[in-house]
């Protein structure tokens, strides 16, 4: 593979490995994603997909290897420093603030990537961030429950809220961790609409068990197996690949 220069890739992983004790969760992962590219990462349970996300965001730093974000080496950066550079993620298990309202959750997300995080002054009614929070809630269609506590939301609404929070500020690249898990067919269709409707400059990686959703929103697919990159290709190629099919179906349902 050719070494890419700073402007060519939004996200670049070089020989990234992560082990928990003797268990190698990720071995020697190398790939790069162009700005604006939509990439699906597929693989059976335990293939290392979520660990890959945790390495990229810095939740759990990699044991070895390098991660570059828009040309900048972010391997040793704290999570918040990566987020402030335009990286976002959603979580597979809901990590929302259950005791706060929907509006407060989105507002916190907007505030986190702007200045004034330490402000003791309450936001005024015409605060720019309050307005962008309103717009985000409108985008993912949860503005109807804006004043509800997160603990009162349905599962689907919580997933939508996750996406609204990932879109806060000016994201350049988003990691979606199984956004369709547990959603109804209608909610899935809405999710696909939201993902395909994202501005073209925002690239993302989506981890998804639902092949249908994953292949419809992505333009390139990385297959993972046992912590390694197993196969890469266009959605159509991957879909037809017999080796992938047997492995994926065998792994997921076996």
């Amino acid at each position: 593979m050719t070494p890419s220069t700073a402007t060519e890739s939004a996200l670049e992983l070089r020989n990234v490995s992560k082990s928990f004790g003797a268990l190698a969760a990720l071995s020697d992962i190398t790939f790069s994603v162009r700005p604006g590219e939509r990439r699906a990462v597929l693989g059976s349970n335990g293939a290392g997909k979520t660990t890959l996300f945790n390495c990229i965001t810095g939740d759990f730093p990699p044991t070895s290897g390098n991660i570059r974000f828009f040309g900048e080496d972010v391997t040793d950066f704290a999570p918040y420093e990566r987020i402030r550079r335009g990286l976002r993620r959603t979580y597979q298990i809901s990590l929302l603030f259950a005791g706060l309202s929907v509006a407060d959750n989105v507002y916190l997300a907007c505030r986190g990537v702007s200045r004034g995080r330490f402000s003791f002054i309450r936001p005024r009614r015409n605060d720019v961030l309050l307005q962008s929070a309103e717009e985000l809630m409108h985008t993912v269609r949860i503005d109807g429950v804006r004043d509800h506590l997160v603990s009162e939301l349905s599962y689907g609404q919580q997933r939508q809220l996750e996406i609204a929070m990932a879109l806060a500020g000016a994201p350049r690249f988003i990691l979606f961790d199984e956004p369709a898990a547990g959603l109804s067919p209608t909610e899935r269709a809405e999710l696909v609409n939201i993902l395909t409707g994202l501005p073209a400059h925002i690239g993302f990686i989506i981890i998804e068990h639902d092949m249908d959703v994953a292949l419809r929103v992505s333009d390139y697919v990385t297959m993972m197996h046992n912590g390694r990159v197993f196969k890469e290709g266009k959605p159509a190629e991957i879909e037809e690949d017999e080796e992938v099919q047997s492995l994926y179906l065998g792994g997921a349902h076996g």
């Binding site: 965001t57 939740d59 704290a78 999570p79 918040y80 987020i83 402030r84 993620r89 979580y91 990590l95 929302l96 603030f97 259950a98 005791g99 706060l100 309202s101 509006a103 407060d104 507002y107 916190l108 997300a109 505030r111 986190g112 990537v113 004034g116 995080r117 330490f118 402000s119 003791f120 002054i121 309450r122 936001p123 005024r124 009614r125 015409n126 605060d127 309050l130 307005q131 309103e134 717009e135 409108h138 503005d143 109807g144 804006r146 004043d147 929070m165 806060a168 500020g169």
Partner: protein, 353 residues
């Protein structure tokens, strides 16, 4: 969902006039507290209410850290104590060879500033730990500070500390007489209560509650969790330091006994008995604590028992409250409200909140 729902009205500051939003009971309480000097004796004003407001302020700083930040610090009494000590050292006291006799407008801000710096250092150490370990490390700091003050004679005047520490005679008022001292304490207690209430909905306060609920997620939203926690310690030091200075003035002295392990844990007891979920909690807790501490002896002797067992009554009082309601007096109140709302036929609790 309504089609014409306006999208630009926030919940955070949707105000039909802030005065109208203040609930009725708060008005009643405010008026009662303002006219209290015409109802109560000097002893009650100075000793019961004055002390309650002061302890309430120090416990409020703990409520801010523990209730909003999830960090239980036992070192808040030390923060209050250092401010009291600094005012005695920089200002005037009966210990002429140490006290510098600087004017109050230098000594007081300096005392609060030094308390804030100390609290920031305490926070910087303590935020590396969670839960029970935070309690342990802050307890260790409180103990170290107590022994340091007791053994250091050049700056802290050791065992005897400082006496004759009096408030300045500002506006020609002797602030240590009952009524002025009552209003002085009421003013600062009410101010900090309102500030904490206000800050709880500010970006800093919301983020602090986010850090309490889910630090990992807050980092993934771009927040520097460690910095936020340390800043909370700094902010909480201000009401604690003010309380410490008022406490020093009330007894006109500060000594290692003021900041020993007992008082440090009493602040924790006050905050928990009152309730950590709302800034009114610490003041309720402080009032209960002061009442028990003041009248337990009289209560025992009236029953024909030895007054020496007053600690037993205090302990039992707290045990009863915490046993019935882990959320303190505030939690008892909520339980009572829910009980009132319950359906009389089915006996089920109705709308909560």
């Amino acid at each position: 969902m309504a089609l014409f729902e306006p999208h630009n009205i926030s919940r955070i500051d949707r105000s039909p006039g802030w005065i109208e939003r203040i609930p009725g009971p708060y008005w009643a309480l405010a008026i009662l507290l303002l006219i209290m000097p015409s109802l109560a004796s000097d002893f009650v004003l100075f000793q019961i209410f004055g002390w309650s407001f002061i302890l309430g302020m120090i416990a409020l700083s703990l409520m801010f850290l523990a209730g909003y930040g999830g960090m239980v610090s036992v070192a808040q009494m030390s923060v209050a104590g250092i401010a009291g000590y600094m005012v005695a050292i920089f200002g005037e006291s009966a210990i002429d060879q140490i006290s510098m006799g600087w004017p109050w407008f230098v000594a007081i801000p300096l005392g609060i500033l030094i308390a804030a710096i100390l609290a920031t250092c305490v926070g910087w150490l303590a935020v590396r730990t969670e839960g029970i370990y935070t309690i342990m490390i802050t307890l260790a700091i409180a103990a170290a500070f107590f022994y340091f003050c007791r053994q250091n004679y050049t700056v802290f005047n050791g065992f005897s500390g400082f006496n004759g520490v009096l408030p300045p005679e500002l506006f020609g008022v002797d602030w240590r007489t009952a009524v002025p001292f009552y209003y002085l304490c009421l003013f600062w207690a009410a101010l900090y209560f309102l500030v904490v209430l206000y800050v709880s909905r500010s970006p800093f306060g919301l983020a602090l509650q986010g850090v309490r609920d889910n630090p990992r997620r807050m980092a993934a939203l771009g927040y520097n969790v460690t910095a936020h926690r340390v800043a909370a310690y700094t902010a909480a030091s201000i009401p604690a330091a003010t309380g410490g200075i008022l406490l020093t003035w009330q007894s006109a002295q500060i000594s290692p006994g003021t900041i020993s392990i007992g008082p440090a844990i009493d602040i924790l007891v006050v905050a928990i008995v009152g309730g950590l979920r709302h800034p009114i909690g610490p003041f309720i807790g402080a009032f209960v604590y002061v009442l028990l501490k003041t009248f337990a002896v009289d209560f025992l002797t009236s029953l024909g028992l030895s007054g020496e067992r007053f600690q037993l009554i205090i302990g039992l009082g707290f045990l009863v409250i915490v046993f019935w309601s882990p959320d303190g007096v505030l939690g008892l109140w909520e339980k009572f409200r829910n009980w009132q709302k319950r359906d009389p036929l089915r006996g089920q609790e109705g709308g909560i909140e």
